[in-house]
Symmetry: C2
DNA sequence: CATTATAATTGTACCGGTCTAATTTTTCAA
DNA sequence: TTGAAAAATTAGACCGGTACAATTATAATG
């Protein structure tokens, strides 16, 4: 782990351990430099990372302050590592409905940037939170990148396997959100009624080198799904 | 405008003007340094900014590449400057339903971090896209910060007025998303049916110094609302 | 010709510095 | 005591460098 990531993690841990609240002031840059025995630019990088994560905010001329979002149980739309981490206090389970090698749909082929005849792993599963249905997920993996999947992997964390098992490096993702009504089949899986609201989240995940390797469509149970984002003006 | 912002803007413009596509390679760092006559760290900062905006992605040992999301007409959940910019090709209008000084609801007071007796500006408006209802917005502004609003301002861009007119500096925001069913009143405003799906987006906007100045609840017409986010693994 | 080892390319981490701009604190005058 | 001016504090912009790691191109090898 890199220095600036390490330091960021330590500062975050410090904030949690000392239960610091929104607006509480952290030591000034110079103190942090001395404390961690690194240069200013390294500390700055750590703090920028924490700022993007929504952990702190920095005010020029004033100091570095703790930022805390007040609501718990929300799924971060930025984490891009699945939502396990956001909901670690809750019990998340999965039931695999389908897992097979297939030819992609036109939509999937387009999003994965492959031909209609190139094979993909198709995964369909229902995920539960505290025994209640959370979402229905359909996922397409470019088989030439994600070369192997089995039932066990798919029941656990696919992304973890992709990173640890296959040694692939996950880079960026595009996420699209829509609201619509559930159709018969989706309602069935989620234990809701036909025509009930749904949140459809479509994602395209890319490796660090820009190759898209996964396209997924996740239909959320509207009663269980709450999401959050922490935005920053100087990042837009 | 700062150097690194200026350069980022120029690079972005270059990409647009030359209609560069996903995966197209930009000049290497050293070339960019020479071209803009700045140090490496400045160019790096520009590129990091563009990376967070989802304009480029950088691959160590390889180069800097154009990143393009394929879908148009989506509202960015990260821009945090209203959605006018995302939908600039569409005609957005507003109808003000209500505008007055009030005592906040408990919810608003909590989110604005003020007492129940401190005054707020309450704004309720319906927004249209291409003559169709886009959303119903209820917004609370801390009156001790946003000291004045009138009908004209509220019909146009409130945030623009806050920045330009009042000279306030918008910092970060917390955004919460829920899906639910429309109630009678909301359905009425949006021209939909009671029980139809809705996307509820609650936001708390803060000044750069951390003070929350606005709490808003926006109910979107599910037929018109599509959102997107561009995420990055090394920012989480 | 395919494979492997080697070298060149290229972005990233990290250092340590100067200067600037926003904010806060202190000082001083009315 | 109040308010304005000056000084001190503090984060951020920007420079210019070295070392490193991932990737890609080239050369060597069988």
């Amino acid at each position: 782990m890199l220095k600036y990531q390490q330091i960021a993690a330590e500062i975050e841990k410090y904030i949690e351990d000392h239960a610091l609240q929104q607006g509480d002031k952290l030591p000034v840059l110079e103190t942090l430099m001395a404390q961690f025995e690194v240069s200013k630019s390294t500390i700055t990088k750590s703090l920028d990372l924490l700022e993007r994560k929504g952990v702190v905010f920095q005010v020029r001329g004033s100091g570095i302050f703790v930022r805390r979002h007040k609501r718990k149980g929300y799924i971060s739309l930025l984490s891009n590592q699945g939502f396990k981490k956001d909901l670690e206090d809750y019990k998340i389970t999965s039931k695999v409905v389908e897992l097979e090698v297939r030819i992609p749909t036109q939509e999937a082929a387009h999003n994965l940037n492959i031909g209609l005849d190139e094979e993909v792993y198709y995964v369909k599963r229902v995920r539960y939170i505290q025994e209640q249905t959370l979402c229905l997920e359909e996922s397409y993996y470019n088989k030439s990148i994600v070369t192997y999947l089995n039932n066990e992997i798919v029941t656990e964390s696919i992304f973890n396997y992709i990173k640890e098992g296959l040694g692939l490096k996950v880079g960026f993702s595009d996420v699209y959100l829509h609201v619509d009504k559930l159709n018969e089949e989706e309602a069935e899986y989620l234990g809701l009624k036909n025509g009930d609201p749904k949140l459809l989240v479509e994602s395209v995940f890319h490796l660090t080198n820009g190759q898209p390797f996964n396209f997924s469509k996740v239909t959320y149970n509207y009663q269980q799904s709450q999401f959050f984002i922490q935005a920053n003006s100087h990042f837009s």
